[in-house]
Amino acid sequence: MMGNKESFIVVDKVSFSYTGEPGAKEETALDQVSLTIEAGEFVAIVGHNGSGKSTLAKHLNGLLLPTGGDVWVAGMNTKDEHHRWDIRQIVGMVFQNPDNQIVAATVEEDVAFGPENLGLPTELIRSRVDEALAVVGMSEYAEAPPHSLSGGQKQRVAIAGVIAMRPRCLVLDEPTAMLDPVGRREVMETISRLNEEEGITVVLITHFMDEAVKAHRVLVMDEGRIVREGQPAAVFQEIDLLRELRLDVPPVIELASRLRAKSLALPEAILTVDEMVTALCQLRSGV
């Protein structure tokens, strides 16, 4: 397959090993991974530690190049040197530790870092910075030094720094792992808004199943391979599989499954507390 170029991102039988020797089995971080992502999608990737999520993420914008196979972004191969910077502009990345991705000593200078690298004219940088800060709700902190912000605020600044480059896709590698619940909510709301209102494609890597549930599609990774793929409602019903892969089962789904075991007639697609409440109320009124 010469890259199905109609799709926005195509990962075609990608293998990768950090030592450069694809032969050694235990060294393989990615093993023949194939996947396509359509423009505007919200995809979540879950999997236990070391399953290859970050490695896959870094392939989506050419930070890592496949040892075998190809990655295509908007019809461009990430191995093609001429397109390297176009691809990095189209696919922005946000990392886990907000402290280690903020470059400049004030918020607005940091958000300007990407556009500055693109060589945009000063006035355009200004408008992009103001816009990006407004989108993540950090306008009033434009002049603040990053170390004075909370974790959630820093991560929103990091997102603004990527948004200011006008990417079509945002890849977030455990962006909430180091945040408190308030920060997590701030960041998740920002991500959802970017996907729904700005139409930005989102690839979210996360350890939190309640975040993955919000995606259109969930990929489950294990030992460098994608072992399940589907809508959250379907994937999260496979409680035994999740357990086997050492993943948390979202509490609501766990509860639903136990209630079903007690032969309560609950529908299959219960993912959130709200859905559970609705389903239970319907059951009661039905009785």
């Binding site: 910077w85 990095r88 990345m93 400049a104 200078e109 990407g114 170390h147």
Partner: protein, 268 residues
């Protein structure tokens, strides 16, 4: 329990924000004038000359709106050096003897020379403090980068130096915070950073420095990846959010101060 310094709201440099004429000048203007003043002060060798230079600096302080105590604060750490310079010169110079006690002889020439050197040091420190007090470290970095850019042809890595300064400014508070955290963690396990002789104290720093270094390297690694992901590829073809621009005031200050300092240096 030993109190641990809190670094949370640290400010780097001595910058005092303001809206004065001096604050609004282009950083390059201020750097150039300061440089000129520093060099000029070495050529002045009359008390009248130093008086005029002092007057000029006093005027700048007045226009900057910075409370003078901040300028004297900068002098405090070097007061010993200034006194020592004064004493050494006063007693070690040959000439008309004013006072003698044992092998110590105070001469008229010595007093004059020592006084002049002391004044020169004070003016140097106060003069350069005006620059750092009215210019934010960021603006200072931008100014230096812009001034050094022509030196690229002779191998001065202007952009790289400025990038290093920017990243240092960004990460010093983060690393200080981390130091504090590690210190508290080690102290909770009974580490003692305060007592013992020099060698013991140096050794007690080891459990602090090792994790700090490990983490700093990890940070550097991650930062490099994040910068690449944001299309950083060196200074080539890069633009800036804040473009430096000379205004009328800059030209006036440059020309005026330039002529005045030059005149002082050549005639006084």
């Amino acid at each position: 329990m030993v109190p641990v310094a809190t670094f949370r709201h640290i400010t780097i440099g001595q910058y005092i924000p303001g809206e004065s004429l001096l604050h609004r000048l282009d950083p390059r203007t201020k750097i150039l004038v300061t440089l000129l003043l520093v060099v000029g002060l070495f050529f002045i060798d009359t008390y009248l000359g130093y008086g005029l230079a002092a007057l000029y600096i006093a005027l700048a302080i007045f226009r900057s709106g910075i409370p003078p105590r901040f300028l004297f604060r900068g002098l405090r750490p070097v007061i010993i050096i200034i006194l020592l310079t004064f004493m050494l010169n006063s007693f070690m110079t040959e000439g008309e003897i004013l006072w003698q006690w044992g092998f110590l002889t105070l001469t008229k020439e010595g007093l004059s020379k020592g006084g002049m050197l002391a004044i020169r040091l004070i003016l140097l420190i106060v003069g350069t403090s005006i620059l750092t007090l009215t210019t934010s470290p960021l603006a200072l970095t931008d100014g230096l980068e812009s001034l050094l850019r022509p030196g690229k042809r002779i191998g001065i890595p202007a952009h790289e130096l400025a990038m290093m300064m920017t990243i240092a400014l960004r990460f010093i508070p983060t690393l200080l915070e981390e130091t504090e955290k590690i210190m508290k963690a080690q102290m909770a396990r009974g580490a003692d950073f305060e007592s013992g002789n020099l060698l013991q104290r140096a050794r007690s720093l080891l459990p602090l420095l090792v994790p700090l270094f490990v983490s700093a390297f990890r940070r550097a690694d991650e930062l490099a990846v994040a910068m690449e992901a944001r299309c950083y590829r060196g200074g080539e073809g890069r633009t800036k959010l804040k473009q430096l621009a000379f205004h009328t005031a800059d030209f006036l200050v440059l020309a005026g101060s330039g002529c005045f300092v030059l005149w002082l240096a050549l005639t006084m």
